[in-house]
């Protein structure tokens, strides 16, 4: 192998892309359901929004774990 660190950059690039796909799908699905819920029950929009932000935060947290690993791959 000529340059093994190049593989780390490749892994970081592909890995962060995959992590973003997962996080994007998760939050997208969550937002779609929340919109649907608000459309059906407009007077419950406050509660739905609060619950949506909590769940979005958890999904985002999991995605960020992956991204931090990618950053570590690049700067190590």
């Amino acid at each position: 192998m000529d340059n093994p660190t190049g593989l780390a950059y490749l892994a970081a690039g592909i890995g962060s892309g995959l992590a973003i796909i997962g996080g994007g799908l998760g939050i997208g699905k969550l937002a779609a359901s929340a919109m649907e819920g608000i459309a059906r029950q407009p007077n419950a929009s406050g509660e739905i929004r609060g619950a949506m932000i909590v769940a979005a935060g958890l999904i985002e947290g999991a995605t960020l774990f992956a991204l931090v690993i990618m950053i570590l791959l690049v700067i190590k």
Binding site: Y9, V54, F65, L67, V68, K76
Partner: protein
């Protein structure tokens, strides 16, 4: 309540002081190890064009002189700078850039709180006081009381300290030539550690040490299940603040990296040709401005999310499910 909140802010901001100080000592190593690696991707593009491995080394070294500065600037923008001169003043602030802005934002939070308290006339807030009151009432009613329950008022000062410190640090960090102290892992570690202590205190003060740890797992579980549940719950105790730490850090770091990277497009394309660089200016500025507006939103969301999750976790330990 307000006074208590901002006395706690002092304690809160004083606690991380030790952290960035040690981080600042460690950071020369960190920045040195970070910058060559960050330089490398910029070098790799021209290096890939040179097909032979022998030609690669001197070529990359020569390119590194001119191109490496882009990645260096990017990393310099987001990492702690131990040789920081506050606002270009002719002295080095001991402890580095992030510690300086930590203390600066701490002072700002106290100042805004004092101004808000002072703005009350005949029991009604004026000017800045009404803005602060809206946020304080929101944190108390929508975050603390809703998620912790009737004893949420006890934790409101702490949650307000989290909220205002994170909000101000993030907003102030968007001002050019400043830094975001919450974009430093040591600072968010200290914030998460305070949150962790508050969570454990919520459980222990209510049920005692033994009762608190007994509450970690639901009552009446079959014994074989306990073998799995106890390690998971003990692990969960630490992953909660860890997630808080990583979330805040990564959000603050990512936003600033994005803005810098978009602004760096101009010098990078100008290296290819000058007219392309000039053409890039409005595009780059427009995108950077968009991310900057997004960052204002992110500042509020992250302050809200950190406070909300702290409240939820405190409530989880204060009212375990039976």
């Amino acid at each position: 309540m307000m006074l208590g909140a901002f006395l706690l802010t002092v304690a809160l901001a004083a606690a991380p002081q030790a952290e960035p100080a040690s981080a600042a000592q460690a950071s020369p190593v960190a920045t040195e190890s970070a910058t060559p690696a960050a330089e490398a991707p910029a070098e790799h593009a021209p290096a890939a064009a040179a097909t032979t491995g022998a030609a690669e080394q001197p070529h990359a070294a020569a390119e590194g002189e001119s191109h490496g500065t882009a990645a260096e600037t990017l990393m310099h923008h987001v990492t702690d700078d131990p040789q920081y001169r506050p606002f270009g003043m002719p002295f080095i602030f001991p402890g580095g850039k992030h510690l300086f802005f930590l203390i600066f934002v701490m002072g700002l939070v106290i100042l805004v709180a004092r101004l808000a308290i002072g703005s009350y006339k005949n029991g009604a807030p004026q000017g800045i006081g009404s803005v602060v009151e809206t946020l304080v009432v929101y944190v108390r009613d929508e975050i603390a009381l809703k998620n912790i329950g009737h004893d949420g008022a006890k934790y409101t000062p702490l949650l307000l300290s989290f909220f205002f410190f994170i909000l101000f640090a993030a907003l102030f960090g968007l001002v050019p030539f400043t830094g975001t102290s919450t974009g430093n892992l040591s600072v968010t570690l200290a914030l998460a550690a305070i949150s962790f202590v508050a969570q454990q205190y919520a459980g222990i003060s209510k049920y005692g040490v033994a009762g608190h740890f007994k509450n970690l797992v639901p009552h009446g579980l079959p014994a074989p299940l306990l073998l799995v549940m106890i390690p998971i719950e003990v692990l969960g105790m630490f992953t909660k603040p860890f997630a808080l730490m990583i979330r805040l850090f990564a959000n603050m770091l990512a936003g600033h990296m994005m803005i810098t990277a978009l602004l760096m497009l101009v010098p990078l394309t100008a290296q290819i040709s000058q007219s392309l660089g000039l053409f890039m200016i409005p595009i780059s500025l427009g995108m950077a401005l968009f991310i900057m507006c997004l960052e204002v939103l992110v500042a509020f969301i992250q302050a809200y999310v950190f406070t909300l999750f702290s409240a939820i976790f405190i409530g989880m330990y204060a009212h375990p499910s039976h």
